[in-house]
């Protein structure tokens, strides 16, 4: 977030304190989800769904893999100038 000009109204995320607060809530909910997973009963269709924190790990790994593949494999292959088709 860029610094607002002095005249301009302060918005929600212009205050670093608000951002810090939001991140705290977010990290707390991550921890809460990890803890809940250990204690809740599961009704799994596949055995790996019973592994502790399966969905958390899968979600994290999948998205890192997605971004890395998109950035380092796909983008070099397909990215062109905006005028590519006009030439």
């Amino acid at each position: 977030m860029s610094e607002p000009t002095p005249k301009e109204k302060q918005y929600l995320f212009d205050k670093p304190a608000n951002i810090k607060w939001m991140f705290r809530v977010y990290y707390a909910s991550l921890v809460l989800l990890l803890v809940l997973d250990l204690f809740l009963p599961k009704h799994a269709n596949f055995p790996w769904e019973n592994w502790p924190e399966f969905y958390a790990v899968y979600g994290f790994v999948a998205c890192v893999a997605l971004v890395l593949a998109a950035k380092y494999i796909l983008r070099p292959l397909v990215m062109r100038k905006e005028e590519y088709y006009d030439e």
Binding site: M1, S2, K9, Y11, L12, F13, Y26, S29, L30, L33, L34, L36, D37, L40, P41, K42, H43, A44, N45, F46, E49, E53, F54, Y55, A56, V57, Y58, G59, F60, A62, C63, V64, L66, V67, L68, A69, A70, K71, L74, R75, V78, M79, R80, K81, E82, Y84, Y85
Partner: protein, 593 residues
């Protein structure tokens, strides 16, 4: 057995009346028409209505059952919401095209025979292209033409299939088709074009982002979903669809991560979401078909909401690229919140609509023990959150401050977004009413502790991946660029084809002109001019020789003959002699043959 007017005719009839109305009357009419259509729809009892005899065939304009009705409801609903969103538009062409388009979608869904299906299928393409062209930019015009060409090709494929099918079975009936033989494959692929199957998909990601702000709401709802309907009606349980659908869910998310145009990101996530529906149709169990249909219903609403929010941004700022936007939450808070609701719905957060529909398809895949498919779908679920759930709201409304301070969306756009967002939350929180409308009895409970926590984990930790990649600077920066897709083959390939044809055919043309019209014609002209002289010479030469003419005298005779023939002053006798000689020659030759 009660019945109303065939649903398609309400809208198409309305479209014909629309241009005669002006100002507020027209606005009121546009809002009233979906309501009238909906009331008309409620008149129908399940069964076959609107039967018209045509030669020896029966045309069925309204085949009403739970499957067609549910699509009918959602199409009316989205037409209504789209009409509110488009209230400020004063453009008869766009409004008419929108109504005919909605009517055609209803025509397909309620078609009880293949001929009706085909006619409305074509009308879908022809009417919808105006929603693209009407943006009136050079890009939109070009994309519209490509869109039309692809759909015409798909339509021809369908027509070939339908014709063969009717020829083979002797009936127009449109029910379960299944894959057996050429006719059914042609129908399958023709439908697949509209369904945006992998490699057949680029018409969608090419054209939708170029469409008008209001038109894309309807575009995102009708074409692909009518295709899903036809698949659910004609090809449930076709195994190929499971794999086609799985690829559809997975590949667009890679493209979406590196795409700069946010409406194009939405177009990619549209393909991804339709993939879930296609998988569900392919699995073909009651649970999976229910899941597909429910997901189509929810998807139409939240995808419209996402396009509405990006449309409002485009309307106010004139920009929709991630590189140009950022920080808009400051002055467009309502649009921002509605966008986040849409994002949460497409990501299938608990309490939002995607959660109660997508999970049925996943559950059906799990019950069928389709492990790889299940993993792909789970990957796609995390990925869609990543690109549509986070990327869209983040880059438009937060991210770096673009310095833009646009006004909030106009009241009608705001109202449409609030209503649509409300529906997303209502369906997500109270899935009962939607479940009760599904074609088969629903034996599924989305809100179990394990499902809620598992799905939340998946999404929250996907978000963690986004956060960490963003903070570490690894997340691919938004770059002013385009990414080529399968449309490269006909956009660049088309140009190559054009160039080859240009070189080959025009080269041939030039050669032909050189040879035939310049050289050959001249030669023939010269030849035919002195043909009589040559012939006469051949005949007379032996005579002259026999008379003992030699040297100078022979030359003189020759010149005299040439002059006489060139000026047409030859004695009649010579002409007659030549003609007689010709005839004689002819007789001899024909006698020989």
């Amino acid at each position: 057995m009660s019945s109303g007017l065939p649903p398609a005719l309400v809208f198409i009839g309305g479209a014909l009346v629309l241009p005669f109305l002006k100002g507020k009357t027209q606005t009121g009419f546009l809002l009233l028409l979906p309501v009238i259509g909906f009331l008309n729809l409620l008149q129908f009892s399940a069964g076959i209505h609107g039967v018209v005899s045509f030669w020896d065939y029966q045309i069925i304009l309204a085949r009403v059952d739970r499957l067609s009705l549910l699509f009918g409801y959602i199409f009316h609903l989205i037409t209504f919401l789209g009409a509110i969103y488009a209230l400020h538009v004063r453009d008869d062409l766009e409004q008419m095209a929108g109504l005919v388009y909605a009517g055609s979608a209803l025509g397909v869904v309620f078609a009880g025979d293949l001929l009706t299906l085909f006619v409305f299928w074509e009308l879908l393409a022809v009417s919808s292209v105006f929603l693209i062209w009407n943006r009136r930019t050079r890009e939109a015009q070009a994309a519209g033409f490509r869109y039309l060409l692809v759909h015409v090709a798909g339509g021809l494929c369908l027509l070939a299939g339908v014709t063969l099918q009717i020829h083979q079975t002797g009936s127009l009936a449109f029910g379960y088709i299944g894959l057996n033989g050429l006719a059914t494959y042609l129908i399958f692929i023709g439908v697949g074009v509209n369904c945006a199957w992998p490699l057949l998909h680029p018409w969608l990601t090419d054209a939708y982002p170029e469409a008008t702000i209001t038109g894309v709401i309807w575009l995102s709802a009708f074409t692909t979903k009518t295709a899903v309907y036809v698949l659910a009606r004609g090809f449930p349980g076709t195994e190929a669809l499971i794999w086609i659908g799985a690829v559809m869910t997975a590949f667009p998310i890679f493209c979406a991560v590196i795409e700069n145009d946010l409406r194009r990101v939405l177009a990619y996530s549209l393909v991804n979401q339709v993939g879930f529906m296609v998988v569900g149709v392919g699995i073909g169990t009651m649970m999976s078909l229910n899941g597909s249909i429910a997901h189509a219903f929810c998807h139409i609403i939240y995808k419209a909401l996402l396009f509405m929010s990006m449309g409002a941004v485009l309307y106010r700022t004139g920009k929709v690229k991630a590189t140009d936007l950022g920080g808009l939450y400051k002055t467009m808070p309502l649009t921002c919140i509605c966008c986040i609701v849409g994002a949460a719905s497409i990501s299938a957060f608990p309490l939002f609509s995607g959660f109660v529909s997508k999970s049925m398809v996943m559950e059906a895949a799990a019950l069928g023990d389709m492990r790889l498919i299940w993993f792909i779908l789970l990957f796609a679920s995390a990925g869609v959150f990543h690109h549509a759930g986070i990327k869209i709201p983040y880059f438009a409304f937060f991210s770096h401050d673009s310095g833009l301070r646009p006004k909030e969306a106009p009241w009608n756009m705001g109202l449409a977004m609030v209503l649509t967002a409300g529906l997303c939350i209502f369906i997500g929180s109270f899935p009962g009413p939607l479940y009760s409308l599904l074609p088969y009895p629903v034996d599924y409970e989305p809100y179990t502790a394990a499902h809620v926590v598992g799905q939340s984990q998946l999404l929250f930790f996907s978000a963690l991946a986004f956060t960490l990649l963003m903070l570490s600077g690894i997340y691919p920066a938004e770059i002013r660029s385009i990414n080529i897709d399968a449309d490269w083959f006909y956009r660049r390939g088309g140009r190559l084809f054009y160039r080859i044809m240009d070189r080959a055919l025009n080269g041939l043309n030039e050669r032909a002109e050189q040879v035939f019209s310049l050289e050959l014609a001249g030669w023939l002209g010269r030849r035919s001019r002195d043909l009589p002289f040559r012939l006469a010479q051949i005949l007379l030469y032996p005579l002259w020789l026999a008379r003992g003419l030699r040297g100078e005298e022979l030359q003189e005779k020759n010149l005299a003959l040439q002059e006489a023939l060139a000026s047409g002053a030859s004695p009649v006798g010579i002409g007659a002699a030549v003609a007689t000689a010709f005839l004689l020659l002819f007789f001899i030759l024909s006698g020989l043959v």
